[in-house]
């Protein structure tokens, strides 16, 4: 098992390097001169050249990549072209806000999805199964940014129960939670649907296996069978949870735009429309790194939970 863990750790390194190359290439394949976009229109050729040198844009691409990677390794993501602030500061604040939203919606999706999935599996073909499966398919089909707008229309505009925008800085914990409700619900819809479907099919697979029949034949009642099923479905549930947490973190871009939530999505949007490439690079790199590490942790925990995986 430890050789597997070692191998898996080593595999993360080329993935991270590859991701950094993609992030770097993405910005440099982009059309348009990143410097020209931010320089005042009346700046002379010499001024433009000087700025290019200052940012290192005059060197060959592989050199630029290595210099950039070296800085990144020291936690230096450069400075925002628009605000001149260090990118790492902006990204840190935004990332914290996005993480909060991703965690809360993953929690809602996990509790709801596992619950609905298990109910559906144990009541296969009955009314509860149909209801749970309908909720699941609506969850995976709904354009969740639109669901966010519908939530605003109902709960903010019509009923005036919950705030529609922002993250309530300094309004106290209750106010903060009130601001979180609608974005959390909107962002949890797709993960909720996916988790329900995966849990239902995983639990059904196990319910149809012979050992469950044997357990029942042995005289085990519903509750005990349930424990066996959950234990055996746990690895699959765990995998989908990890993946969906990643979705919530990446997918928050659209929800943050709807609710003006000051997270990475908001920052990314700003960076894209100001063509602030260091910020664009920084946000994507931080999120990708986090996602790779998340996958790594999910894999490793899974090996601990289910040692059979290491043998494959």
């Amino acid at each position: 098992m430890w050789t597997y863990v070692g191998r898996r750790l080593l595999l993360a390194i080329p993935t991270l390097l590859g991701a950094s190359i993609i992030v770097f290439a993405m910005v440099h394949l982009a059309p348009g001169d990143p410097i020209a976009a931010v320089m005042p229109a009346e700046s002379s050729q010499a001024e433009i050249e000087a700025t290019k040198r200052a940012y290192g844009f005059d060197k060959p691409l592989p050199v630029q990549y290595l210099v950039w990677l070296g800085r990144v390794a020291h936690g230096d993501l450069g400075r925002s072209i628009a605000t001149r602030r260090p990118v790492i500061l902006d990204v840190r604040d935004a990332f914290t806000n996005s993480l909060v939203l991703a965690l809360s919606s993953s929690l809602v999706a996990f509790v709801g999805g596992v619950g609905l999935g298990l109910i559906a599996a144990f009541r296969q073909g009955r009314l509860l199964d149909k209801v749970a499966s309908l909720v699941a398919i609506i969850g995976v089909s709904v354009p969740y940014y639109w669901a966010g707008i519908i939530l605003i229309i109902i709960f903010s505009v019509q009923l005036n129960w919950l705030p529609a925008m922002g993250a309530a800085d300094g309004g106290g914990p209750i106010e903060y939670l009130r601001h979180m409700v609608l974005p959390t619900v909107a962002l949890s819809l797709i993960p909720l649907g996916v988790i329900t479907r995966v849990v239902r099919s995983a639990a059904l697979d196990i319910l149809n296996q012979e050992f469950v029949l044997a357990l029942r034949a042995k005289g085990l009642v519903g509750g005990r069978v349930f424990t066996h099923v959950v234990k055996n479905a746990a690895p699959q549930i765990f995998t989908v949870l990890g993946l969906q947490f990643g979705f919530a973190l990446g997918g928050s871009v659209l929800v943050e735009s709807v609710f003006s939530w000051p997270g990475t999505g908001y920052l990314l949007n700003l960076a894209i429309f100001q063509r602030d490439l260091p910020v664009l690079q920084g946000v994507i790199l931080v999120l990708a790194t986090f996602f790779v590490l998340l996958n790594l942790v999910v894999d490793l925990v899974q090996t601990l939970v289910d040692p059979r995986i290491a043998r494959h």
Binding site: G18, S133, W146, I149, I284
Partner: protein, 311 residues
């Protein structure tokens, strides 16, 4: 099959007739074996939910194709005096948008863009991904490792983030949306194609074909593709709804189709500020995305169940 009825009644149980490859029961003398595709058709014809979903999709596609003839108004021509007319306004069945443009006309025209932007990336990913995946799975070795490791790198990015990042770097416009979404979906198809290929490759009949002197080309064409295309197709069909949601989402962020063209995500974006004036009209483009994406999901569920392919 219907919502939540995986593993319900199949044709064997219903009629006592069987069967297709993979069924272990030996057919009795009086039983006529049904071919695989006939079984699939048999099941689909009895699956009301899937048929309904297919019907809805046909209507949506037809209305998009026929938009130039069906739309009562020019989708880009507005009137300042007629802004945000409610649903049911005289002359405008579904009201008008924030620039006074007819909503029905814009929804019909918008469907064309959204369908193209949602379907094209999946088709591209299906062709490119299946080719790469079958190559990696069948050839294996260094080539296979290289292909799969490259795909792993793309898995380092959550799908939505990757699409937005690439679109953001390339700039707005339909072609860039198609490029960025294709990049999102290709690695997914490659993974499914590769694992299906590795599985089928290990089966005895492939070894038998090789032993009887078949070359790589004929084996892949005659024996392999027939058995891996099913799972790959079904997987691709599950991705259509996500692709549509993301394509419309990119336009919603201002990264996809550019104004004044009609596209559902873009319409949702420009109407967003008007929810305080008129709550129903701004919800319509999103509803269109939702219904289409749900129909695709139901159809793909039905297809998967009818083809007995495990997700």
């Amino acid at each position: 099959m219907a919502i939540g009825a995986v593993g319900g009644v199949g044709p064997e149980e219903a009629t006592g007739r069987l069967a297709h490859a993979g069924d272990s029961r030996p057919p009795g003398p009086e039983i006529v074996p049904m071919s695989y595709w006939r079984t699939v058709r048999w099941r689909l014809a009895r699956d009301r939910t899937t048929l309904l979903a297919a019907g809805v999709l046909v209507l949506i596609v037809l209305s998009a194709v026929l938009a130039p003839w069906l739309a009562p108004y020019d989708p880009t021509a507005g009137s300042i005096r007629l802004r945000l007319a409610p649903v049911g306004a005289p002359g405008h069945v579904l009201g008008t948008d924030e620039q006074g443009r007819d909503m029905l006309s814009r929804l019909l025209w918008g469907g064309r863009m959204t369908l193209v932007a949602g379907l094209t990336p999946v088709v591209v990913a299906l062709v490119v991904g299946a080719a790469l995946g079958v190559l990696a799975g069948y050839v294996g070795g260094l080539t296979g490792t290289l292909v799969m490791r490259t795909m792993d790198i793309f898995y380092a990015f959550p799908a939505v983030l990757l699409a937005i990042a690439i679109s953001g770097a390339l700039g707005p416009g339909l072609p860039n949306t198609l490029i960025s979404l294709s990049i999102v979906f290709i690695p997914r198809v490659v993974r499914v194609a590769e694992s299906a290929t590795v599985q089928v490759k290990g089966l005895e009949y492939i070894a038998a074909a090789r032993a009887s002197g078949s070359g790589v080309g004929p084996i892949v064409r005659h024996h392999l593709l027939a058995n891996v295309l099913g799972p790959i197709l079904v997987f691709a069909s599950t991705q259509v709804s996500l692709s549509m949601i993301l394509a419309a989402g990119l336009s919603f962020l201002g990264l996809g189709v550019t104004p004044p063209a009609a596209e559902w995500g873009l319409m949702l974006n420009t109407l967003r500020q008007s929810i305080y004036v008129n709550a129903i009209v701004p919800a319509l483009p999103g509803l269109a995305i939702f219904v289409t994406s749900m129909a695709f999901n139901l159809l793909s569920d039905g297809l998967r169940d009818a083809m007995e392919i495990r997700a």
